[in-house]
């Protein structure tokens, strides 16, 4: 929970609003903020935003020796961090650390103990090499979304090849837990889903639930001292499961469309790079001039094929052969081992890229080929003895929280089945009709309608406004008193207006 640098005004106002069923955003009490997902250029990078709070997440992997207890399993590690705009709301450093620990523990429970990721699939050589994956997600609900997407798209390679050489294999993920938080006020009488910054600072406790798309609960965490009844908790869990399903389907669609794009680009990269590599075997004297020519050509191709920067960098590395001996030896070991198959493939590919072939005529020297054959065995042994080979793309992560007030008309549809089962109880839990003041006639009626059928009511409202012009109503208003009288007598006026319009 965030410490309180708020004013008494805010706390009381938020409570008063919620008692009457309003929220500062304009959302209904069980509505979530709109979700946006943006993918980075490389695998394993996601930015997720719920409304105006954002979380960035990245997943990276290392090859490491496994634990001696479990020689056939890999590791998953999760680290969390806040940015400075968030830490100003928290006050001291100790509280910041406490919050971070809370969040990371929740995610770990959800992902590790529920076996979301198959750790045995991370094994490369039993007892020797194993993947350890670091997830760096920094906001809870955003996190789990981000972490799951990233783990879904993560790469697995045998001896580290770049994607230009072999296709990446995704991590095997059994299920994706998604977390949804509820805030409660006034000793558990009022519940809200997905609290805002302001609401979160003035809440008295929260309940966060990590649920599957298969309706399995992965973890539950309750912060704060006020008590909740069993009915309330079950109600929250059911709501959470519905929303988790929707979020999961939404995230899946976005992921799949993103993956298609990445794979197409990767395939194109692979074709081009393989054709380049075959032609360009080493003489260091010739390299510099030829490289510069080819780079310009390749970068030109890249624009036409919608390259990523990723691919052009790979081409750079392959060509700077004197600098990186490992890449040198990898390529040559691969080519010499799979000569026949690769040559056949390349002949087919070369027919497609005749333009390339014209510009890439480089002399191949037999002396160099013999040298590489001789060193092949030694180089393979060196690779096996290296325990840690790091992948390049590791990024640092931060959150941004922004406090803005907007009326938002988006919402996630809630099916009516569960509402019919729990009509009476849900009204008592989340909206206490008894506490509504009796003087407000129209607004109370509106609230009652809202409590029961949110979707239907909104559709009805829109249809009402279409028939009556707003400007005609506003012409009659001259002072705030007349406005209040308008509110009370709205029904009559609207009927009059309709009659007038029909006559016309």
């Amino acid at each position: 929970m965030l410490t309180k640098k708020t004013t008494n005004c805010e706390d009381k106002f938020v409570e008063n609003c919620i008692k009457e069923g309003y929220r500062i955003d304009g959302r209904t009490p069980q509505e979530m903020r709109p979700i946006e997902i943006n993918f980075g250029k490389q695998y394993g990078q996601v930015q997720v935003s719920l409304g105006t709070t954002k979380a960035m997440c990245s997943v990276t992997g290392k090859i490491v020796e496994p634990y001696k207890d479990r020689p056939t399993e890999g590791n998953i590690r999760i680290t969390v961090g806040f940015s400075k705009t968030v830490s100003q709301f928290l006050g001291s450093q100790t509280k910041e650390e406490e919050e971070l620990v809370e969040i990371s523990r929740m995610i770990e429970h959800g992902i590790k103990q529920s076996r979301a990721v198959d750790t045995e699939s991370l094994c490369i050589l039993a007892g020797k090499k194993v993947w350890s994956i670091m997830c760096n997600p920094p906001c809870l609900d955003c996190f789990t979304l981000g972490a799951q997407e990233v783990t879904i798209t993560d790469q697995q390679i045998e001896i580290i090849h770049l994607e230009s050489e072999r296709e990446y294999i995704p991590l095997s993920v059994h299920h994706t837990p998604i977390s949804i938080t509820f805030a409660f006020f006034n000793n558990g009488d009022f519940l809200i889903a997905d609290p805002n910054l302001v609401e979160e600072r003035s809440m008295q406790g929260s309940l966060s639930v990590l649920v599957n798309s298969h309706d399995e609960i992965c973890s539950v965490q309750k912060n704060g001292g006020s008590p909740l009844s069993i009915d309330q908790i079950l109600h929250c869990v059911k709501l959470a499961s519905i929303k988790a399903r929707e979020i999961y389907s939404f995230a899946r669609r976005r992921l799949n469309s993103h993956l298609e794009i990445m794979r197409r680009n990767a395939y194109k990269n692979r074709l081009i790079v393989s054709s380049v590599c075959k032609r360009e075997i080493v003489d260091s004297n010739i390299v510099d001039d030829k490289i510069s020519e080819n780079l310009k050509f390749i970068s030109h191709i890249g624009k036409n094929f919608e390259y990523n920067k990723f691919s052009s960098e790979n081409v750079m590395e392959i060509e700077n052969l004197d600098d990186d001996k490992n890449s040198d030896e990898d390529e040559d070991s691969d080519k010499n081992s799979d000569e026949n198959s690769d040559e056949n493939k390349n002949e087919n590919k070369n027919s497609e890229y005749d333009d390339l072939n014209q510009n890439l005529k480089i002399e191949v020297k037999e002396e160099d080929l013999e040298i590489t054959n001789g060193n092949q065995l030694e180089n393979q042994l060196e690779i096996e003895n290296e325990n840690q080979l790091e992948i390049e793309n590791q990024n640092q992560l931060e959150i941004e929280n922004q406090n803005q007030l907007e009326i938002q008309n988006t919402f996630i549809k809630i099916p009516t089945k569960i509402r019919t089962k729990r009509k009476t109880k849900s009204n008592k839990i989340s909206f206490s009709e008894e506490s509504l003041p009796k003087n407000q006639n129209n607004i109370k009626n509106q609230n009652n309608i809202k409590n029961q059928n949110i979707i239907k009511n909104q559709n009805i409202k829109k249809s009402k406004l279409i028939n009556v012009d707003i400007d005609d109503i506003f012409k009659e208003i001259e002072s705030p008193e007349s406005f209040q009288s308008l509110q009370n007598n709205l029904g009559k006026k609207k009927r009059k207006m309709k009659k007038n319009n029909k006559k016309k």
Partner: protein, 231 residues
């Protein structure tokens, strides 16, 4: 000073013009070096009659200056001083005797986390900023603690300026429909109070959504959209 850059976007470090007359009032974001006036912030140059120049942008961090009217949150009481959070880099102090009719026996009982409308007396970059809740004639005239039943929200400094200088007609147009009280602090905090929480939400949202414009027609459209929720 002769410039052609009034109303244009300026980047920090740009030279705006040379000083010719002695009566020149330079405000936010401008500095004088020898003969020239140089910008230290990015934004739009503004000009008011009789040699007043300043730069306006969508900044949120507040730098205290003399005679500014601010909304502060009380954090602590150390002896005879309250330490108040204004939104600047360091906290300000408010003495107990800075209220109307305050003596050693009659002290104002302000709780922690309550809001106060105050005036800046001392604003030096090397010293602590000091506040006071009294007019120059030692009367409250609006200063002092703010009611618990209002709502405080944050906005950019330029919005607060334009509201205080009556450039935008938002408040007038809103007052045609809803009765409310409002207190505006130049440090980007606004306090609003009205009878029902409905109304305060509408006021807050309509103020924020009409930040860039000064047209009455545009503003009235936005207000009508927001109010139509009630109808």
């Amino acid at each position: 000073m002769e410039t052609q850059k009034v109303g244009q976007v300026i980047l920090p470090g740009e030279i705006i013009g040379k000083i010719k007359s002695t009566s020149l009032k330079i405000g936010n974001g401008l500095n004088i070096e020898e003969d020239k006036v140089i910008a230290t912030k990015g934004g739009i140059l503004q000009y008011q009659e009789k040699d007043k120049y300043w730069i306006s942008n969508f900044q949120k961090r507040y730098v205290p200056k003399m005679d500014h009217m601010v909304i502060g949150i009380i954090i602590n009481q150390h002896g005879e001083n309250y330490s108040v959070d204004i939104g600047s880099a360091s906290r300000a102090t408010l003495s107990i005797f800075g209220f109307e009719g305050a003596t050693k026996k009659t002290r104002p009982n302000l709780e922690n986390r309550s809001a106060v409308y105050a005036r800046v007396i001392q604003a030096d970059k090397d010293l602590e900023t000091e506040l006071i809740c009294i007019d120059k004639r030692q009367k409250s005239s609006g200063f002092g603690p703010l009611d618990d039943q209002g709502y405080i929200f944050k906005c950019s400094l330029s919005l607060a300026e334009s509201l205080l200088m009556n450039k935008t007609p938002v408040i007038k147009l809103l007052s045609n429909y809803i009765p409310f009280e409002i207190a505006i602090g130049i440090n980007g905090r606004i306090w609003v109070k009205s009878e029902k929480p409905n109304h305060t939400i509408i006021i807050v949202n309509s103020i924020i959504q009409t930040e860039g414009t000064e047209n009455e027609t545009e503003i009235s459209k936005i207000i009508k959209k927001n109010i139509s929720v009630l109808l």
